[in-house]
């Protein structure tokens, strides 16, 4: 099974460089609305990143009436076939985090396709908040992140101010 993207909110600075890189890769311009991943503000402080997890049993695939959502068994990447999609948005409503979005140009749905295995967003992240790792490693890291107490990324930097 291929890799997935994991985001660590404790490291993210919210610079949105991944979003500009994504929209440039897909549309040749810098536009947050066209980006297929989103970095949003966590109401508790810090940032969360919303991106496709390429689920093992994707809801979007189950919901698609046209059979346009495909899961590659070998790489694990979930993609939407441009020629089959009818743009009904069923996948957006079925997805727990509403990943597929209406694309620009053709009235069909688009979503993250991992840039063919070499995601552009990973390359530009300076704070190393997004990482590419195998599903098993990702599971371990995410459960470790879930277990640690919530510290907003906006905490004072450790060791800075002892007084």
């Amino acid at each position: 099974m291929a890799d997935v993207i994991v985001h660590d909110p404790a490291l993210c600075t919210g610079c949105r460089q991944c979003m500009t890189a994504c929209s440039f890769k897909k549309y040749g311009t810098y536009n947050y609305n066209l980006s297929l991943c989103k970095v949003l503000e966590d109401p508790r402080g810090g940032f969360v990143r919303v991106h496709c997890h390429h689920c093992t049993d994707p809801m979007c695939k189950a919901a698609c009436p046209a059979g346009a959502v495909l899961k590659d068994e070998e790489t694990g990447v979930v993609t939407i076939d441009q020629m089959l999609c009818v743009g009904c948005k069923a996948c957006t409503y079925a997805c727990p985090i509403s990943i597929p979005q209406m694309g620009r140009g053709l009235k069909i749905m688009v979503k993250c396709d991992m840039c063919g295995g070499d995601p552009e967003c990973i390359k530009v992240c300076s704070s190393k908040a997004i990482k590419l790792m195998s599903r098993e490693q990702a599971d371990a890291l995410v459960s470790e992140m879930a277990a640690r107490p919530f510290v907003p990324a906006t905490r004072p930097i450790a060791g800075a101010n002892k007084a």
Binding site: T20, F24, G28, T29, Y30
Partner: protein
């Protein structure tokens, strides 16, 4: 061409609009910001040379940059005319 073929779509440069003016400045003066009179004064007051020892002072560095850019051919790819310093397509 617009008058002859009104149905043709304009050529789109694969470059974000925000980057276009930055590239022109990069390839004409070597850096993003020019040296102004206010800056010369402030630099002298800080005890520095009025013109920094960057490409601002060494014009040949800009020529080298332009030669390199031409060799890579990226000026053609983004539709930038290096002699006139303007984009061929809007």
């Amino acid at each position: 061409m617009k008058e002859l073929y009104p149905w043709r779509k304009a050529v789109k440069i694969p470059l974000p609009p925000a980057v276009k003016p930055q590239l022109i400045r990069h390839f004409t003066i070597g850096l993003l910001y020019p040296v102004t009179d206010e800056l010369r004064e402030a630099r002298e007051k800080a005890g520095l040379d009025p013109v920094p020892p960057t490409a601002h002072r060494y014009r040949d560095a800009v020529d080298d940059i332009q030669k390199i850019v031409r060799a890579i051919g990226v000026d053609r790819n983004v539709g930038l005319d290096l002699d006139r310093m303007e984009y061929k397509y809007k």
